[in-house]
Each structure stands twice: as structure tokens, then as C-alpha cells.
């Protein structure tokens, strides 16, 4: 899209959102040095200048696998001591109560029988179940009845042969990924198989998998804990931001592995756009809604057979290729009825025609507006990828640079930080466009767009320097420039995020879509 188009779509989006102002959109772009904006602008700068605690930052903690294990063990031991039940039972109860220790203890004190039943723990006081050989036993699963058949039953007494039990458990663990809630194989029996019984029945490799799955349920059951979604990362992140807060904050967290993601929706960092808008945006980009918009903006349907027709030139006398129906493109009426007014439809001003034209114009404006934001969003996404590619090449060149210029490893690290800055800033820029697409126009959007523009200009300048050939990179003057620009980019990003996050927290943004922050009705489902 060239600059002309930019201007048109900016203008049209304004018309779209704020009809009252449409008479002087030009001024919005040219006179912002004269009205009250500069104050607001420098205000936002000042705020970020001294405020140490930035509004878009959240307290979070990263836990490694050993920390997670320890937390579970501590809870199990505590319940084991307080309630005087075995550790296996304490673990099952805790899992049943989603690791809410207080509620477990309270409920158990009130009505232990019901709690044990509900959690799938029977109350019989007999010792732990063991593998037995029972004369005359027939397994109900495999129908085997040979003498000496080893069998096993939980406290419920539903007895099956060890082989069938093994099959059953390996199916549950390996294929279905179950662990904390594996029930007795008998139909309708809700008794849960505890870790000790399981260890008795299955081979070592399966026990390991079982314990790994169990260990995972701890994180999955707790609302304040989430796995880092990076491949092969085993850490979990704890953050107190709740689902209902997601309309006010964008809780970006970063794992020890370096991956930055949103605690609300697990997607990659999408500041400044809130989760709900991100979801809407991604859906919009993925689905056909804009195709439909294009069709309604550029085509009409044959009044007889409803074939979709795009008029790419020529006169108003249309003959449908499919059904040979002849009609007027302007009024969509029969061509034969045009009488003597050939090639000059005099029904153009009729009301129905006007309405159709208006509807089409609206579709066009809406499509152009979407494309304006989408193109910029996609462009930053792609550029971030390209910057990454270039960095991989530069990494090699950094070694070369060390040799050629005699700089040390430490001294060429500025390229690394420049690349990091480029990528984070582009990620942010990308989402500013999705965010802006949903913003209703007002004074705040002006400030937002200025911030966006400043960051974008800084990023493009840095990106350009970064692409220079290695011989130029060795120039110490350019090095200083790159370092300065890197710092500047990061600072612009902080300013932008600070401003948007603060307005979001205070509920100052007006959106042109329904925005409740109730991401709850479509929250991430916990499917395996």
C-alpha cells in the first residue's frame, strides 16, 4: 500500500468511527503542534520518566521442576500430619480439591465420609491392597480362569487379573494421558487408583510417566500456575492475575528459558493489546469475514440466478455469463425496460439504488480500514522474522568482526542487544496495529498513534543500520549510533506500553467492538 492509500484509509477510518469530526481530518494530522496534545504527550513521557513501577509489568515467579515437586510434597506432608491419613490418600484428596488445602481440611473435618467417597477413597480400614492368587478366580476382562492366576483388587473388591490391570493402566496413562483420576476398571466404580497400588502393578517406565503426569496436574489444577509453553521447557510460572482482570491488564511474563508469553492466554507476548482483542483479531485474520467483505464491496449478484459478478470495466449493460440475463449494473433492473435511455441509467437516483450504493461504500470503507491495520500488522510480523534471519547471519559475522576489527567478544555484543530490541519492538508494534483496529477514535488514540509512530520510526532506523554490510559495522561511529538507537527503541517501547497499560487499567480506552474482558466464556480449555 502506498502513502496515498494510507491517507485515504486513515481518513475513511475516521469517518467511520467519528462522523462529527470528519470535516477536518487533515488538521488531525497537521496541527497537532498547536492544540492541547503536546501537553498530554509530554505528560505521558514524564510519568514513565520517574515511575519506577511500570504499569505493564507484573509480579510473577518462575518455578523449576524441583520447586514444583517440593511444593506438592510440602502440601501432602502437611495434610498427612493434620488429618492423620496416608500420604497416598492425602495426595488423592489434595488433587480432588485442586490443591486447596484449607477447603480440604475444613470439608474433611465436617464430613470425612462424604469427602472420602467423593474423592474415590473407600473407608474400609483393611491394609493396603496387594497382588494375590485366589483359587477359582475368573477374570471378567479376559475371561481367563487358569489356576495360579495373579489378580488384584482395590478396596472396592473388584478383582481382575494382573495382566488385564496392566493393559488397562497402560492404556489410561500412555494413550489417554490420565493420572490423577484413573478409576477402578469395573463399570460404574469411582474408586481411584492410588500411586502405591499403581507402582505395584506396572513396569518402571510407566510409573515414571505416571508420576510425571501426576506432577503436571498440580500446575494444571492451580489457577495461579501455568506451564511455560516454549518447547522442551519444564518450568512453570506463577502469577496472581485472574481471568476477570484480563480486560485491565496484559500480563506478559518471561520464563527463565527466555520465552516471553502472556499469562492470560499463553500466546506469545501481545502487549499492548488485551487478550480478548487478540483473540478477536486472530480469528478475524484467520476466517473469511474479510473475504465476504471484499465480495460485498466489489461485486453484485445477478438478479436472476444470483451468480456473483465483478464488474471490471465496460458499460452498465450486463449480460450474465451463466443465465444470459440482461440487466443494468446501476439499478439492477431489466435492461429491456431501460427503453431509450440506453447506457445512461436514469434510475440511478432512486432510493433503493442509493441504499445499495451506501451499503457497498460502507463495505469498502470497512475493508480498507481492516487492510490498513492488517498490512502493518503482517509487515511487522514478517520483518521480525527477517530481522531474526539477519541476526543469525550476523552472529557468524560477529566472529568475523572480532577478527577484522580486533574487537573483543564483549565489544560486539551490541549487535546482540540491537537484534533483541528489534524483535521485541516489532512484536509490540505488530500488536499495536491489531489494538488500534479496535480502538474508537478520540484524543487518546492520537497520543497512541504518535507513540506508535515514534516507535516505528526508531525501529525502522535501527533495522536499517542493522542490515549494513560487515565492513561498515566495524566502524566505531556506527557502533555508537546503533547502541544509541537500541536504547532509544527500548525507551520508546516502554513509553508506548506504559501509556496504553495505564489507560487500560483505568478503563479509559473506548473500543469499537464489544469489550467486556470476559475472556472467561472462551478461556483456554485444558485439552490434552
Amino acid at each position: 500500500m502506498d502513502s496515498d492509500d494510507d491517507f485515504i484509509s486513515n481518513m475513511s477510518s475516521e469517518e467511520d468511527m467519528l462522523p462529527d469530526d470528519s470535516d477536518n481530518d487533515m488538521s488531525n494530522y497537521e496541527d497537532y503542534g498547536f492544540d492541547d496534545e503536546p501537553d498530554a504527550y509530554s505528560d505521558s513521557q514524564k510519568e514513565t520518566g520517574h515511575g519506577k513501577k511500570v504499569a505493564y509489568d507484573f509480579s510473577f515467579k518462575v518455578y523449576q521442576p524441583s520447586d514444583i515437586q517440593k511444593q506438592q510434597d510440602d502440601l501432602i506432608n502437611e495434610v498427612n500430619m493434620i488429618l492423620d491419613i496416608s500420604k497416598e490418600e492425602a495426595a488423592i484428596l489434595l488433587r480432588y480439591f485442586r490443591w486447596n488445602k484449607e477447603r480440604l481440611i475444613e470439608d474433611y473435618m465436617d464430613r470425612p465420609g462424604q469427602v472420602l467417597d467423593a474423592a474415590g477413597l473407600s473407608q474400609s480400614a483393611a491394609g493396603p491392597p496387594k497382588i494375590q492368587v485366589i483359587p477359582g478366580f475368573v477374570c471378567d476382562i479376559c475371561c481367563e480362569d487358569e489356576p495360579g492366576l495373579e489378580s488384584f483388587a482395590l478396596k472396592c473388591g473388584h478383582r481382575y487379573c494382573v495382566d488385564c490391570y496392566r493393559h488397562y493402566l497402560s492404556q489410561k496413562i500412555r494413550e489417554e494421558g490420565e493420572a490423577a483420576r484413573i478409576q477402578c476398571p469395573s463399570e460404574g466404580c469411582t474408586l481411584i487408583i492410588d500411586a502405591r497400588s499403581l507402582d505395584l502393578l506396572v513396569p518402571q517406565d510407566l510409573t515414571d510417566r505416571y508420576h510425571e503426569l501426576l506432577h503436571r496436574t498440580y500446575v494444571e489444577d492451580k489457577e495461579t500456575l501455568k506451564w511455560c509453553p516454549a518447547p522442551d521447557c519444564q518450568n512453570a510460572v506463577e502469577c496472581a492475575v485472574k481471568k476477570k482482570d484480563l480486560d485491565r491488564v496484559v500480563p506478559t511474563v518471561s520464563c527463565l528459558c527466555g520465552h516471553r508469553f502472556c499469562f492470560g492466554c499463553i500466546l506469545n507476548d501481545h502487549q499492548p493489546a488485551p487478550c480478548e482483542l487478540v483473540k478477536k483479531w486472530l480469528k478475524k485474520c484467520a476466517d473469511d469475514s474479510e473475504t465476504a467483505n471484499w465480495i460485498s464491496a466489489n461485486t453484485k449478484e445477478c438478479p436472476k440466478c444470483n451468480s456473483t459478478i465483478e464488474k471490471n470495466g465496460g458499460c452498465n449493460h450486463m449480460t450474465c455469463r451463466k443465465c444470459k440475463h440482461e440487466f443494468c449494473w446501476m439499478c439492477m433492473g431489466l435492461w429491456s425496460e431501460h427503453g431509450t435511455s440506453w447506457y445512461n441509467c436514469n434510475r440511478y437516483e432512486e432510493k433503493s439504488g442509493m441504499e445499495a450504493r451506501d451499503a457497498q461504500a460502507r463495505s469498502r470503507v470497512s475493508l480498507e480500514r481492516y487492510l490498513h491495520y492488517y498490512n502493518r500488522y503482517a509487515n511487522h510480523e514478517q520483518s521480525a522474522r527477517l530481522d531474526k534471519d539477519i541476526f543469525h547471519k550476523t552472529e557468524k559475522k560477529m566472529v568475523q568482526l572480532q577478527k577484522e576489527s580486533g574487537m573483543s567478544w564483549i565489544e560486539v555484543q551490541y549487535l546482540n542487544s540491537a537484534s533483541q530490541a528489534l524483535q521485541t519492538c516489532r512484536q509490540t508494534l505488530m500488536w499495536t496495529y491489531a489494538f488500534a483496529f479496535y480502538l474508537a477514535r478520540n484524543n487518546l488514540t492520537e497520543i497512541f498513534e504518535d507513540n506508535q509512530k515514534d516507535l516505528e520510526m526508531a525501529v525502522e532506523a535501527l533495522s536499517e543500520m542493522f542490515e549494513r554490510p560487515i565492513t561498515e559495522l566495524a566502524d566505531p561511529k556506527l557502533k555508537v549510533e546503533i547502541m544509541d538507537k537500541t536504547t532509544y527503541c527500548n525507551k520508546r517501547r516502554v513509553i508506548l506500553l506504559e501509556d496504553t497499560a495505564q489507560n487500560l487499567a483505568e478503563g479509559k480506552w473506548t473500543f469499537n467492538v464489544e469489550f467486556s474482558g470476559s475472556a472467561a466464556n472462551g478461556g483456554p480449555s485444558t485439552r490434552r
Binding site: D163, C164, Y168, Q171, S186, E187, G188
Partner: protein, 155 residues
Amino acid sequence: MSTQFAAKRLSKELSKISSSLPPGIELVSADNFEEWLLDIRVLDNNPLYQNQTYRLKFRFGSSYPIEPPEVVFVKLPDRPIPMHPHIYSNGIICLDLLGQQGWSPVQNVESVCMSLQSMLTGNSKNERPPGDEEFVRGNRLRPKDIEFYYHDNDV
């Protein structure tokens, strides 16, 4: 190993149902341990299903009976698909005991047939599941890969 496991169990089931089956259930064919056909009839005088026989197709995976079999109604000139709010017009059955969660390895071909018989007997609604047409048109999945949401247990 597991195929053997399934074959052993199926041969035992087959020898049992070849000799006797409850009324209203008939074995049509069981030539291998992969696919069996059975016919069922509703025995009481529920007007929805009177004088009708329905064909059931069982398909067994290698981990049967740990995993449930795939059970569907089959349409033939003289074998319609029974009308039921949990049975789609392409024969796919939405029944929790045929899903991984509701299945128990203690169940078998006979008990599944009996459950389906009683599911039909107890029904008085002459209707298909909501969204039947759309589902039947769009579905390319095997029944075991469909995520059914068992929402009402009264029918």
C-alpha cells in the same frame, strides 16, 4: 501381544454368544476379530420401533476390551437407522459407555447390545439429535475421534 489379547477375549465372547444370546439380539456375522455384525430388536411395544430390526456394526481395535469398540448402526434396505435423540441419521451413536470415559473393560458385545436395546426402549422422542443434518453432512471423523459432550442422561 495386545492383538493376541483382543483375539483371546473375542474368541471367548464369540463362543458364548454363538450358543446363547438374550431375546431380540442376533449374531449376523463374526468372520474375524475385527468386525462383527449383529441385529437388534426392541422387545416391548414402543410404537417408535415396532416391527423393526436394526443392524449394528462392531469394530474392534487391537486394545479391545481395554478400549471400547466402535459401534454404529448400519443402513440397509430392510434395516433403517432407529429414530432417537442420541442417534445421528448416519448411524453414529452418542452414548457415554462407548466413549473412553464411560467404557469399562468389563463391558462386552452382549452388554453393549443390551444397553442399546434399553436405550431405544426407554425413548419416546421421535427425533434426531440437534444439528443432525449439519453433523451428518460435515462429519468425516471416525466415531472414536469425535468429542461427544454427554449433556443429558435422561434419554
